[in-house]
Symmetry: D2
Subunit: 330 residues, 4 copies
């Protein structure tokens, strides 16, 4: 397998979610978070941040069950789609090669079930849309600029780390003990992460992270949420130890978790070395020492396989502390 060249992934581009009521979901993702609607049909909506020229960062589709139906990475060229097929098939994974025209707003898409149980899309061509970066008059809600990362829960963080290392991801930060890896933040674009893995009952999607310009955007949204008497804030605002970013976590009406996030750092230097946090370090999770709700460590979105069936989850076999959630331990 090692001989096969992995697809050249540029970055995380989008996440597809099913939601049980599309109008209620839009109140959260569009009216509250302020993602821009690129397109919408009866039961689906395609959303993006204001700095994006790609057609979508989030696709919401109404369905009976709420789940994450795919995580989409953008690759550098069409050849990388062939590579994705070969690379995953060599690992015994099911793949689908969806021709251009199959998916709205995107060209040919290779969809795979990765060995961790996630449905992953690889796409090169995406419809180009207007960059709304300078349209401050249209910025709303959290003023999200772009998708930044996903954080997923897996029963074996080391296995996930190893797989994505083979796929060409760099390692920015970890939470670990002397003999066990609990969590890993991994990147293709030179930021802290495109995807992070935390050990727990998985495979599940923990959250989607979005970039915003500065802290005032996050505080402003927290005030708006409170003013609307909503209870969707789960954690924060606060300062991460891992990534050093400022954050707020919210839950949508189907309990999909969104993070707004600002100011991490450049990880592209050729001698970049990951920052390894000890699992006992209380600041890894919240640098300020802030309270983290229990649900943050236990709850995450189910994921679907290529047939649209919910993927069965497994608990970690690691006999140490029970580990769930984006930052490591309870």
């Amino acid at each position: 397998m090692g001989e096969l060249q992995p697809p050249d992934i540029v970055r995380l581009a989008y996440v597809e979610l099913t939601v049980t009521e599309i109008d209620r979901a839009k109140e959260f993702w569009v009216d509250l978070l302020g993602l821009h609607v690129t397109e919408e049909h009866a039961t689906s909506v395609w959303l993006r941040g204001h700095a994006e020229t790609i057609h979508h960062n989030v696709i919401l589709t109404e369905a009976e069950h709420a789940a994450c139906t795919s995580i989409g990475f953008r690759v550098r060229s069409d050849v990388d789609l062939d590579r994705a097929v070969e690379w995953f098939e060599a690992r015994g994974c099911r793949t689908l090669d969806l021709p251009a025209g199959s998916r709205l707003g995107a060209g040919r898409t290779v969809r795979v079930e990765d060995p961790l149980g996630f449905t992953i899309d690889f796409v090169f061509e995406m419809d180009k849309v207007e960059r709304l970066l300078r349209r401050w008059d249209l910025h709303r809600g959290a003023k999200i600029s772009r998708i930044d990362h996903v954080n997923v829960v897996v029963p074996d963080a080391q296995a996930a780390h190893d797989l994505y290392t083979e796929l060409g991801f760099g390692l920015a930060e970890t939470i670990e003990s002397s003999d066990h890896l609990y969590a890993a933040w991994m990147f293709r674009k030179p930021t802290v992460h495109d995807i992070a893995f935390t050990e727990g009952v998985g495979p599940r999607l923990h959250h989607i992270g979005f970039d915003v310009g500065e802290r005032s955007n996050i505080l402003d949204l927290a005030d708006v949420i409170a003013a609307r008497n909503l209870t969707c804030v789960e954690r924060g605002p606060g300062r991460h130890g891992v990534s050093a970013a400022f954050y707020l976590y919210m839950l949508d009406p189907d309990q999909h978790r969104a993070e707004i996030y600002t100011t991490d750092y450049f990880t592209g230097d050729p001698d970049f070395e990951p920052l390894r946090w000890d699992v006992e370090d209380p600041r890894r999770r919240d640098y300020w020492g802030g309270h983290v709700a229990q649900s943050f460590f236990t709850d995450a979105s189910p994921v679907h396989d290529l047939d649209g069936e919910k993927v069965k989850t497994a608990a970690p076999s690691h006999a140490g502390e029970t580990v769930v959630g984006a930052d490591g331990l309870r």
Copy 2:
């Protein structure tokens, strides 16, 4: 005259402006600045900031000519309205005693022509409306909390200062030389000012100042204005020397000037002493040394008398430097 007790003025409460096209004016004051509409009729609209419980901070009325038709101070009790009549009549000023019911959103109103040529209202009762302070979901534009001050142009700053001192105003800051007063910032509420006087061709209204919560509100509005491709910003964002506040000045479609302004200081201590800026100090005007457009020193809104006629202006007789504008000299 000195024996008469002046009305006990609480603070600046509102300004009445005429505008030549009400819809166009609302685009500026409501859609852009984000003032909240308390009430509107065919050709008038009553606006307030989100921290106010009084019915209006600004009244816009469509008319043939754009002008400032009155500046409204709120007094502590009904008795102060009688005092206002007596105090100004003793100075030979014309007064109108408008009974409750005459003016929308306000009770009995004493309207006077002050010796400087401004039409000044005194009002005690004002209709109480919902304080939108905690309705962050409704805050828009500059997120104005309340009216803060007016700045007016007068041919004799010393005379204006002396009159308003007699009226009970405190003096927060000045611009002066060893033998001449160029500008004075005067207050009733314990902030830097409810009214400021700058020497120049007057009487005219230089600007209305509004309080906002912090600098990000001002920067956000500057971005929105640019994104809409508007040219209404005249000066700033910048930092004042006088008041030490952070500011932005804009011109409405009729060239009425609005300032958004944040973070001045408490002036209520019993031994408060005014800060006297030398007229040659370059930092009095813009603490950062920023550029100030020429129009800022020359342009201001005409004011109307009790008959609704435009008040004739006079130039300063002071033979020194030509002095116009809110901060002093060219």
Copy 3:
């Protein structure tokens, strides 16, 4: 008693604290919070915010036990000092009339034991010092501009409210049920409060609140505290329901509690009506619904009487919910 005119209080001016190690205390109040040192002796230090011209907002003195030894209000004139003596003596309170020269940085000071058990100072003359408002190069830490309020714990909030109403304080906000007052925010300067009373084991000092310019100052300090690996943050950053201000609470090395606080609102209108929060309203305490540490509801600083002895505390007799802390209930 009702015939006696109370002293005309301008605002809260300072708080005196004893601390068990002055150097350690200075690390908190000076190095971390950034209060400016006006003067210091071997075992005492006089501190102020950058917008103040009065000699001190906080006096720290090393002593065997940590306590609040007085709360200082500034009055409008020397006559008000006589009134303070008479007013409190008419209520059977002990008073001390300390002549000018007795206290560093202040003139004649009337010190009383108020009926609630607090030692309260009244002072008119205070040494005038440089206003460091425009010395942004000297602003450090939280960039505190001035003292804003104290919050104290009392076993009977209604009694405290009634006493301070007689003293001339206005009422800005309350927490109450249909038949019981749990907390009251009261003011002389036209902001939300100079003093707040919360029902609980008292008399004790809950916290001293300081004004800062904007939210970024508070977030910046939270990051610095974390970077120094300190654990002094007890609560926040967050948004209050009461006052609508943005806040952070910290504990000094002797468990004296400091709040930094920004953006409340003008309470000086003549028809101002208090905002009454229902004791069951979850947003009264933290508008965002944030977690509040248990210590916030149970811990507070002891207060000393005129003899420097610790005042005995009493629990509330109200048979309802146990009530401790600045915002009301557990």
Copy 4:
């Protein structure tokens, strides 16, 4: 020449400047801007931003004349240093291959005179130092996180653009007319630029741009500069059209120009297309329409050749508008 592979440049890493008084220069770069001192000798100092692990972003060395003595790019591996030698020698450029040990804080360095007249360094190995990202207690001044870009003046922007395109740079934005290129923003790391070229009298260094976390950092520095009564601010704070970033420009005591800059956007998508601003668009330069000082269009730092001699400059031959400065036209 097209057959030679260019060095794989990761990003701009540092700039070397000579200054006429090192202590005075340090007051600007260290005390005011807040760059962190990695190392210092009698007449040189090595500085970096708080998010860097490389030894330096700026080297200041005392010398008779102030100039830019080199611009340093970091490459992906040692092989790229060989490629740099070959690539530039094939273009007839002088090169120096400085072995490890020649330069403090860096390994083997290939120094070339590029065809535009700039002295350019290529380096792979740099001494690794502590990342001070989470040491908020040490962040000072503008709280600079890292070097972002240089902006240089050249007499032929098209030629510069073509050369750096061959070197592998992407093009983010331009200022152009239908038949002439006036300015080009070019990148290796996926941000708006590592280097920008503006047509004017060159070769000269226009400015060094540094990344900061958010707008409040820039505003805070502007206040500190004013408080110190310095006159080093040349332009801003303001909002760029090009890059959409928020900025402030300052001049050091030798008239070297520094920009602090926040929030540009991701340019790494495989179908990224440059944004082309019309040279007549007034918003290309300052999105808010702010005033730009004349010096910004005329003044820039001289550059030195491999012999340490000042490179002769040439004016543009383009017969159109005279073009100088970072954003294009006067």
